[in-house]
């Protein structure tokens, strides 16, 4: 056994959102002294503003710490950060697969949450040694013994000796470091085998090309090697290998047990998919590392520039985002209502939301999005199957034999007092009850639900029904046959393609009514009366009317009023700039956004 492997520990930190993962990571980095406190930027691992604001980590990354343990030896601790949200479950599982162990943080004030469980299962699946840690003991409401009991009773891990820490206050951080060294196994020495390295992250850098984060399982990799991506199939020549300190630090080689990166003038992150195995082109391994799967978008929507003249800007912005986000897909589409835009695919709603925010912040792009859609399977009368992620592409009713929609296994953790309300919500959203498990004063509910219902404002409803306490996790389960219809919206007799969506037939009436209502509230009065209709096929199921504009006049305008009144008119007109023309009707951008938010309570 190589001495290097014996002195290496590869681990992740797993936790529910807000249980203190990033803060603990910072403390570990500080305590190991690898980066001076002066250089420490708050939350080193979270690179992007959005992540910091939302308290989650989107792009994963690793860092190498040097720790002198109580046994007097110096260890390399490779901390691999994991994304913190349900949309990125697969990426989390690949990060975990790069480790031998995981630090499990449980918040002493909240105990186990839905995502704690989901992450523990992922860690167990990857045969990781789990090191429980009780965090936030400095808070007045902390109950560390409750957290210990929950870990023992519901996860089945001994937790009496778990470090009780406060990452925020820096209390007992050394205990965590010692536990990592003593409890987590060191990696195996497989230097004599052909190269196999797991890709767990990749980011694009304009100077180096794609920086591929890898965990070497077998063999070694160094600059000059020609390598193959076993699933992707492409070959590249390695320019540089290195490890992550506070920056990229080139090293001579990476060998089995190491966590680091390589670059190879790769232009497209799509060539370096997470979960793929890197091997030597000259001496390839026989089998790739297990667990690779192609991540496919689960949620689609149309994205259009609010200002139609900025189509090229939007195109450029998406291309730039795509550089670092292999999971994002987009292709051009046109809408009669919204003009030129893109059909974009996302891993889930959060991924979508984060992308919108990045478009806004990093590219100053104001966009209109259409209803998110899942991927439906349409079994046609001729027996062929087509996948539809855009209502506009749904074949005509006569061509459809039947349709299938994706269902997910959903886990919801909620405080006991909201169970009734959460169950009611799940029922309304066509959830099928599976189990219910009490964990202290909380309940873990499991439902099988159509994804269609989850992407439709479910998370907001869940939060509002539980005062923000409930947590949600879900995973794709299967496709099921379902009664689905396409709902169209007509404004002044003209169909608005951007507002069409596919809906469970029984929900079509209430949803059609509700959307017609929302449109009515958001379309300003015009010179003529504007009928708004929701229809299935040709059949009208809901109707609202925007009354004609009867009065738009400033009563007083004398010498002292001129500037003020003109400003008032200009302000009113400003809103009109963002109008979209549907036939003879002008529809403001807000109308498209408003219909995306429906309150079912």
């Amino acid at each position: 056994m190589g001495i290097k492997q014996e002195l290496t520990r590869n681990f992740s930190i797993i936790a529910h959102i807000d249980h203190g993962k990033s803060t603990l990571a910072d403390r570990l980095i500080e305590s190991t002294g690898m980066i001076s406190k002066r250089e420490m930027v708050e939350q080193v691992l979270d690179k992007m503003d959005i992540e910091r604001e939302r308290g989650i980590t989107i792009k994963l990354q690793a860092v190498r710490l040097i720790y002198k343990a109580k046994d007097g030896k110096e260890y390399f601790l490779n901390l691999i950060d994991t994304p913190g949200h349900v949309d990125f479950t697969y990426e989390v599982s690949r990060s975990l697969a790069a480790c031998e162990g995981a630090v499990l943080i449980v918040d002493a004030t909240q105990g186990i949450q839905a995502q704690t469980m989901a992450n523990v299962y992922l860690a167990v699946d990857n045969d990781l040694e789990i090191v429980p840690v009780i965090n936030k003991i400095d808070l007045p409401s902390a109950d560390p013994e409750m957290a210990v009991r929950e870990i023992e009773d519901y996860i089945g891990l001994p937790a009496q000796d778990a470090p009780r820490i406060s990452a925020k206050e820096g209390i007992n951080i050394d205990q965590v470091l010692e536990a990592i060294v003593t409890r987590i196994p060191h990696p195996e020495d497989n230097n004599d085998k052909p190269l196999r390295a797991l890709v767990f992250d990749s980011v694009y850098d304009p100077y180096l090309g794609v920086i591929c984060s890898i965990r070497v399982r077998d063999g070694a990799i160094k600059a000059g090697d020609r390598i193959t991506f076993m699933a992707g199939g492409k070959q590249f020549d390695v320019d540089q290998v290195g490890v992550f300190t506070d920056r990229l630090m080139p090293v001579a080689k990476l060998e089995s047990g190491d966590v680091g990166y390589f670059t190879a003038s790769i232009k497209d992150v799509g060539d370096t998919r997470v979960g793929d195995t890197v091997t030597s082109a000259a001496h390839p391994a026989e089998e790739p590392l297990p667990g690779y799967k192609e991540v496919r978008p689960m949620v689609y929507c149309g994205i259009y520039p609010a200002d139609g003249s900025r189509y090229e800007d939007l195109k450029e912005a998406l291309a730039k985002l795509k550089l670092n986000d292999a999971a994002l897909s987009y292709e051009p589409e046109t809408s009669a209502a919204l003009g030129f835009g893109f059909r974009c695919g996302f891993l889930g709603l959060l991924h979508l939301e984060v992308t919108m925010q990045r478009l806004d912040r990093e590219f100053d792009m104001d966009v209109i999005t259409t209803f998110p859609s899942v991927v439906y399977k349409v079994i046609k009368t001729d027996g062929s199957v087509v996948e539809v992620d855009n209502p506009a592409n749904l074949p005509g009713p006569s061509e459809i034999n039947y349709m299938e929609e994706p269902y997910v296994d959903a886990s919801i953790m909620t405080p006991e007092e909201y169970v009734g309300s959460v169950m009611d919500l799940c029922q309304k959203r066509r959830g099928e009850y599976v189990t219910m498990e009490y964990i202290e004063n909380r309940v873990l509910l499991r439902y099988v639900m159509p994804l269609n219902e989850i992407i439709y404002d479910f998370f907001d409803s869940l939060k509002s029904r539980t005062k923000g306490y409930a947590s949600l996790d879900y995973e794709l389960k299967e496709y099921r046959r379902s009664e689905l219809v396409k709902l169209d919206l007509y404004i002044n007799g003209d169909i608005v393609d951007a507002l069409s969506f596919i809906v469970f037939s029984e929900n079509a009436y209430p949803r059609g009514r509700s959307i017609a209502q929302k449109l009515k509230e958001n379309i300003p009065r015009q010179l003529f009366e504007i009928p708004i209709q929701a229809a299935i096929g040709g059949k009208i199921i809901a109707r609202e009317t925007v009354k004609a504009l009867r009065k738009d006049v400033i009563a007083k305008c004398y010498g002292g009023d001129v500037s003020r009144k003109k400003k008032l008119l200009e302000k009113q007109k400003e809103g009109k700039k963002r109008m979209r023309q549907i036939g003879t009707v002008s529809i403001p951008q807000e109308a498209f956004t408003a219909v995306l938010k429906l309150d079912d309570d």
Binding site: D552, V553, C557, K566
Partner: protein
């Protein structure tokens, strides 16, 4: 022929009490400031740098009739000293019905005031109470009689509609009662809800609501009833017997220059718009502590040709006569019809405007939607 009249506006920001709908610069309970305010005002008038011959003077407020009438006389004297007042100069003063005594009217008459504008607002006592007016219908009747008795044949009543609890019948009653007083000029305003007024909160919390249909019904009633008294609409909210139109305001809509004096007063001189501070304390300090310029407490903004043209259109469309196309091209050197071909065609086809004898003007329906039409030109 271009209208080259010039006017003077003088702001008197004092009131007996603040009305529930008012967001003008006006103060109730600040009487101790009145003397020093007029001192500052006189100083500002003296500092005016141009030698203007003026055609109109207008005392607005606030409530000009609230302060001692001799202060008004004195202001007018100072004005006549600094400016050349035309022989037929229109000199107007805004007044509240309950502060218009025969004694005051006599002083005004002597000072040269020849037009009185009475803030009647409604002839319904319940509504007057609701909108925070201190007077009652009988006060308005009395005031109108006093005005006529004092020899003012040129006077105006201000009326409001779309008021809380007001029905179309209530307003028709008010219109008739007002016209029956033999008034040659009536201004009718649909209540504009201004933020930070007591009445705004009533609408905000849903106690009252404004209905566009009823509002237009009331406006149409005004058109019809006032027409039957010979009062014709010459501007969106103004009705007069022929020859009794308010010259001061007409000049403003005709894009003439005017100089405003006092706190919060606005001026339009050549291409520049000025607005004096609305902070009465600041106004007084500026002009009693030796300011050397008449606009020392004002902000000035020189408008571009495009902005001027927009102002011009916004104001011209308020007039029943509409926009004089040759006047436009004389002022801006551009052909109105060529510049706005599409908008003109569109608004005419929508039935909102018409072109008659070199004028582009709103139709009846267009008057309901003057804002809508104007916005097209901005």
């Amino acid at each position: 022929m271009l209208n080259t009249d010039k006017g003077i506006y003088i702001h008197i920001p004092f009131c007996a009490s603040k009305c529930a709908y008012c967001d003008f610069v006006s103060y109730a309970g600040r009487d101790s400031l009145i003397e020093s305010y007029f001192e500052a005002l006189f100083r500002q008038i003296e500092l005016f740098p141009y030698d203007w011959a003026v055609n109109t003077v207008y005392f607005g407020g606030g409530t000009p009739s609230y302060v001692d009438a001799r202060l008004i006389s004195e202001t007018l004297e100072k004005t006549a000293r600094r400016f050349t007042l035309a022989r037929d100069c229109e000199i107007s003063l805004e007044a509240n019905p309950n502060s218009l005594s025969p004694k005051k009217l006599e002083i005004y008459k002597k000072a040269g005031i020849n037009r009185i504008s009475i803030g009647a607002q409604s002839m319904d006592d319940d509504i007057l109470r609701l909108i925070g007016r201190a007077h009652r219908r009988s006060d308005t009747v009395k005031a109108a009689e006093n005005v006529l008795k004092a020899g003012f044949d040129n006077f105006n009543l201000d009326l409001m509609f779309s008021l809380p609890k007001q029905t179309a019948a209530d307003f028709e009653d008010t219109l008739k009662a007002a016209a029956d007083l033999g008034v040659p000029h009536i201004s009718c305003y649909s209540l504009t809800l201004e933020e930070n007024t007591p009445i705004y909160r009533l609408y905000e919390d849903g106690t009252y609501s404004q209905d566009d249909e009823i509002d237009r019904q009331m406006y149409r009633a005004a058109l019809e009833i006032l027409a039957s008294y010979g009062l014709r609409r010459y501007e969106i909210s103004n009705f007069a017997l022929p020859g009794r139109e308010c010259r001061h305001n007409t000049d403003c809509w005709d894009f003439c220059s005017y100089a405003g004096f006092g706190a919060a007063a606005c001026s339009f001189i050549r291409n520049t718009r000025l607005e004096t501070t609305g902070d009465i304390g600041e106004f007084i300090r500026t002009f009693t502590e030796g300011a050397g310029e008449w606009d020392a407490a004002s902000t000035a903004y020189e408008e571009t040709a495009g902005e001027l043209a927009e102002d011009y259109i916004m104001l011209a469309l308020r007039k029943a006569s509409g926009l004089n196309e040759s006047d436009f091209s004389a002022r801006f050197g551009e052909d109105f019809r060529k510049m706005y071909t599409d908008i003109i065609r569109e608004t005419v086809s929508e039935g909102l405007a018409e072109e008659v004898g070199g004028f582009y003007r709103l139709t009846d329906r267009g008057f309901d939607l003057a804002g809508y039409v104007t916005k097209k030109f901005l």
